[in-house]
Amino acid sequence: MSTPAKRTPLSERRLLKIARPIIIIVALIATWQLTVTLTGAPKYMLPTPVDVWHTLITRYAVLFDHARYTIAETVIGLFAGATLGALAAIPMALFTPVRFWLMPILLVSQAIPFFALAPLLVLWLGFGLASKIAMAALIIFFPVTVAFFDGLARTEPGWLDLARTMGASRWRLLTHIRLPAALPAFASGFRVATAVAPIGAVIGEWVGSSHGLGYLMLHANARVQIDMVFACLLILCAFSITQYFIVDRVLRAALPWQPDSLTPVR
């Protein structure tokens, strides 16, 4: 005998999962609109959501044109920084002397405020893409290196014992056990990197550029086109979130054994 369909707690939770981001976005927009209404802020201080939406629609071509640059800088910077981070982590994990020489340099490098480096990078690498890619890559290099190095250094000791009794060479031990075992740690570093890479690109654009959302924001700000600044911010947000979710999905699919993807997502 079948019982009439009831809303189980599970389906409620699923519904909430879909509804939650929508509720959050609607609530944020409502708060924004309410703030404008209550404070009576002029359009050149705080435009309404409708103003910004209007700008997004009418200035679509300009925004899209500049967004392309920022996206390219971020994505290239992300992969460049992650590659360099991985290339630094592997020899540090394999050779103790390399670790002793490189680790202090890495730590000292973290004491440098990267934002202060942006003018130098623009001076050295020019107004084009290169200086922004370098900025994004520099910002993400450290989190990726540290996370991956940590993963490589923490190989399950039992696996190392087993490999030793099996007569594994140092190289095969690395490629067959230590590297794959450290990939989940690398993935954590890469996720952090994905979230911060756009910051590097935008900072680079602020300091000196002729293209990109950072450039557009700076100029719009100077001309008191605050609706344009907000439109740029919204695009940056949407891009960052999309990029993060794509990276997260790809990493989960590529590393199905990593602990956090073994627990079912409800």
Binding site: G158, S169, A181, W257
Partner: protein, 266 residues
Amino acid sequence: MTDTTPKPTAAPNPTQFDIDLRSARVAFGGVDIFHDLDLGLPAGSFTCLLGPSGVGKSTLLRFLADLVEGDVSGNITCSDGVPLKGRIAYMAQQDLLLPWRTVRENVELGASLRGQRPDHDKADRLIAEVGLSNAAHLHPAELSGGMKQRAALARTLMEDRPVVLMDEPFSALDPVNRLRLQELAAQVLRGKTVLLVTHDPLEALRLGDFVHVLRGSPAHLQDAITPTGHSPRDITDADILRQQAELLRQLGANETAAAAVSENAQ
């Protein structure tokens, strides 16, 4: 579908040499775990090592496997004059299966680590012998504890080394699975020289030709108890239960507890 699982067979290449360990000494932090320790492992014999936690059973096993680093001395000689190094297979309490490899790929791990072409037919045969034919394509996360340890046993057998060192390989299993795996191990390892570390006196008496207790600090070996008959033995047998009482006494169980076990045996 017919059951094509082959009956487990004894190891194909019986071990032909005796192992003689003389004056073994291992110290950690200046404290001797054991010294002047002698142990003989006759060709093709199954030796079990019992002892309280932390006494150095695993250290002795790892010493034989050349996995202990630091303050170590002693002589290991084989009666055929060939060094022991490179002739052992190691099986630990954890299954040590690599989570990114399937059961079959895990069984073939040794060959990959040595850069050899794995013998797929042999792997499939051994996987069938341990009863995992239907699970050969699965990843460890999809296996039960018993299945994982079966896969680890197949990986150990795949190495086909004359000497097999096992460190509490069945202790994490439920009682029924433990008995099954003990039986399987007794069959497939027959003819190989085996040293098994265990907490469980009955497991030792069920499987071992020689059962040693390691105790004291620095630890020393008690004279071997030699259960009669072929393994796997019936653990309800009166002789076995009497020997269990003797082992419990050697392990330092209080006299009344050991006497109770002995009485049950009458």
